[in-house]
C-alpha cells in the first residue's frame, strides 16, 4: 500500500494540480464545499460537503448548445467543454456510491454524452470516513464508510494518508505520483477501518428498515395513508432534491439572447409546481403526490428497475438541510418498520 505523511499532503495536491484539474473539499465559514484547488488550499476533514459531488458529472447548470440567428440563417455553435481531465480528491463512500446510481440513469441507452464524457475524464480518490455524524445512514444501504470505492481508495491513519488503486485510472494517477509516495504496510489502515465501523455501529440511523421496499409492495406503499401526515408540512421547496447526490431530474431551457439562443439544462425538482410542464403538465397536482413521488422513486421505483439498488446512499444531507426536518429516514421508519 502507498502512503504519504499528512505533512506532505500539500505537495501531493500540488503535484496532482500540476498534472490536471483538481477538486477537493475545503472548509469555509459555512461548512465544507468542493472547490477547484488553488495553491495553499488544504483538504477539509469534515464528514461531508454541503453540496454533493454530483455537480462534477451532472452540474446544476450547463450549456448544451448555442444558436446564432442572422436573417434566415441559423448557426449552431458547439459550446461543449466537458472533456478536460480532472481529479476529485476526498469524496466520501456515500457520494462515490451515488455515481453508480447516476451511471445507471445517464449511461443507459440513450447515453447522456455530457455525463459520460465527464465520467471518463475523471479520477475519483475516495476517502474513508473517520468521524461520521448522527445524520449518516449509508450502512442502511450496505455502504461501508470505511471502505470507499472509486478509482483510488484512501484512508487517514496515524498521521499518514494511505492509497489503494481500484482501477486502471487509479493506477495511472498513483504511478504518476510515485516519487512522493512511500511503500508501507496496511496495518494502520485496518485499525482505522475498525474504528470507523465501531462508530458507525453507534449511529442512531445505521440500520433503517429497507426490506419492505420491494417491487411487489409498490401499490401498498403508494396507497399508504401515512403519506398524508408525512407530507403535510412540506413547503415544496427543492432543498432535498438539490442537496441530494442521487436526484437526477433536469429541465432543458432556451434563453433568448436577443440574436440567438443559449440552450442549457439545469436541475429540476419533482417538488416544484412546474416540474415536467414542458411536456404537458405537472401530473402531480398536490404536494402529497410530489412528496410521495420523490420517496417512492428512491425506495421502490429505482430499485425495481435496478436489481434492488436503492436510489439513496444515506449521506444525510436532506436530514441536515430540510427546512421542516422531514426526510427519507423518517419516511422509511414510518413506512417500512414502525408500523
Amino acid at each position: 500500500m502507498k502512503s504519504i505523511s499528512l505533512s506532505n499532503l500539500p505537495e501531493l495536491l500540488s503535484a496532482i494540480a500540476a498534472k490536471e484539474a483538481l477538486y477537493l473539499p475545503v472548509d469555509t465559514k459555512e461548512g465544507a464545499e468542493y472547490k477547484a484547488y488553488a495553491e495553499g488550499d488544504s483538504l477539509s476533514l469534515a464528514c461531508n460537503t454541503n453540496r454533493s459531488a454530483k455537480d462534477f458529472f451532472f452540474p446544476q447548470v450547463e450549456d448544451m448548445a448555442a444558436f446564432k440567428v442572422e436573417g434566415k440563417k441559423i448557426e449552431i455553435i458547439d459550446v461543449r467543454k466537458e472533456t478536460e481531465d480532472f481529479v476529485i480528491f476526498g469524496a466520501r463512500a456515500c457520494d462515490v456510491k451515488s455515481f453508480e446510481v447516476l451511471d445507471r440513469v445517464f449511461l443507459a441507452d440513450p447515453v447522456d454524452t455530457f455525463y459520460k464524457n465527464r465520467r471518463e475524464h475523471s479520477t475519483v480518490v475516495a476517502l474513508a470516513c473517520s468521524a461520521p455524524e448522527e445524520t449518516c445512514f449509508c450502512s442502511s444501504f450496505g455502504i461501508d464508510a470505511a471502505e470507499p470505492q472509486g478509482d483510488v481508495s484512501a484512508w487517514i491513519a496515524e498521521g499518514r494518508m494511505f492509497f489503494k488503486p481500484n482501477t486502471q485510472k487509479g493506477e495511472t494517477l498513483l504511478s504518476a505520483l510515485s516519487a512522493l509516495l512511500e511503500e508501507s504496510d496496511g496495518a494502520a489502515v485496518e485499525k482505522a477501518k475498525e474504528e470507523t465501523r465501531t462508530i458507525m455501529g453507534q449511529l442512531p440511523l445505521q440500520n433503517l428498515p429497507t426490506e419492505h421496499f420491494k417491487p411487489e409492495k409498490l401499490m401498498e406503499h403508494f396507497n399508504d395513508p401515512k403519506w398524508k401526515e408525512l407530507s403535510q408540512a412540506c413547503i415544496g421547496c427543492g432543498t432535498c432534491t438539490f442537496v441530494c447526490p442521487t436526484c437526477q431530474c433536469f429541465d432543458i431551457r432556451d434563453f433568448d439572447t436577443g440574436n440567438g439562443i443559449q440552450r442549457y439544462r439545469c436541475w429540476d425538482s419533482c417538488m416544484y409546481s412546474d416540474f415536467t410542464q414542458m411536456a404537458a403538465d405537472q401530473p402531480r397536482h398536490t404536494q402529497l403526490e410530489r412528496f410521495r413521488q420523490r420517496f417512492m422513486h428512491k425506495l421502490v421505483y429505482y430499485p425495481a428497475n435496478n436489481e434492488g439498488l436503492f436510489g439513496c446512499v444515506g449521506c444525510g444531507r436532506c436530514l441536515a438541510k430540510c427546512p421542516i426536518s422531514m426526510n427519507i429516514a423518517k419516511v422509511m421508519k414510518a413506512l417500512g418498520g414502525d408500523k
Binding site: 461548512g31 447548470v61 427543492g238 442537496v243 429540476d268
Partner: protein
Amino acid sequence: MQKVIREKAIELLRSGKVDRVLGWKEGEFFYDQTPHLFLSPEEVERTFVYNGFSGANLSKYLVKEGLKEGVVAVFLKPCDTYSFSQLLKEHRIARDKIWAVGIPCEGKLDIELLRKMGIRGIKTIEEKGDELLVSTIYGEKTVAKKDVLAERCANCKSRKHVLYDELLGEEGEVLDSARFDQIEKLEQMTSEERFAFWQNELSRCIRCNACRNVCPACTCEKCVFDNADSGIASKAPASSFEEQNFHIIRAFHVVGRCTDCGECSRVCPQGIPLHLINRKFIKDINAFYGAYQAGENPDERAPLTNYSTEDMEPGDVFKKGE
C-alpha cells in the same frame, strides 16, 4: 413550558373547541422537529414538543389551514404573532378558523452553530437552565445557550405577542434590539466592498426556493419565478447576476410586509444571511417614512401603501452618499 402547552393542546382538542392543533413534532434527534397537525390528545401526549429547537414559524401554514373545515389551534411565539397579524392584514387567513395561543419564547437555538463548534455525532441534547448538555458519540459537551442562539433571537425585537386568543405564561415587552448594527456595518462599506460581500454570499445560492417557500410574506398562489409565461421563470442560477436578481426582486416584493421573522436565513441550506437584505429595507423605511414595524398594528396603514406630506421625495435618493 412543553407540559403546559401539551395540556392546553389536549384541553382544546378534548373540549371540541378545535379540530386540529398545529405544533412541533419530535424528530429522530432533539433538534429536528417537524411542524405537524395533531388530531388527537394521544398524539399530542406522544410526540408534541416545545423546546429550544422549536424554531419554525407556524403562521404561514394558517393560510392553508384556514381553507379547511373546522377550527385549528396554533401555538405562536412572540415573533410568529407578527407574521400572523400581517397575514391577517393582507386578508390571507380566515380569522374565525384559527384559535391562536401565544406562548413564551426564551430565544431559539441554531443547530448550525453547534455544528460550527465542531459538535458532531449528536445522540441527545438536554436543556438545563442556561446550558445545553450535548451527548455525542465522540463525548459529552456543555454549551452555553447564548453561544448557540439563532441570530434572529440574539437580536430579538420583541417578546410581546401582538395578537392571540389566549396567552400561556407572562407577556413580554418590545425590546430595544441591536438588529440594525450589522446593516450599519454594511452601509459603511464602499459600494465595491458591499458588492463583494453580497456576491460572495449570493454566489452560493442553489435556487432551491426554500427562503421563498417558507416566507410568511410570500403567499402568492403562483410565484412569478415559477410561471413560464412570465419570461423570467427560472429554476437555475444562470449566473451570479441571476441569483441576485431573484433575491432582490423577492426582497422588493416583501418590503413593508416582512416582519423580520428570520425564517429565510434559518432554512437556507447554504447559510446565506438573507434576512440582512430585508432588514436593510426595514431600516430604510424607518428612516424615510418614520418608524414602522410590519405586523405590529393591524389598523395602521403601511408606509408604502400610504401617503403623507412628510414622505421623502423620490429625488432624495440621489442626495445619499455615493
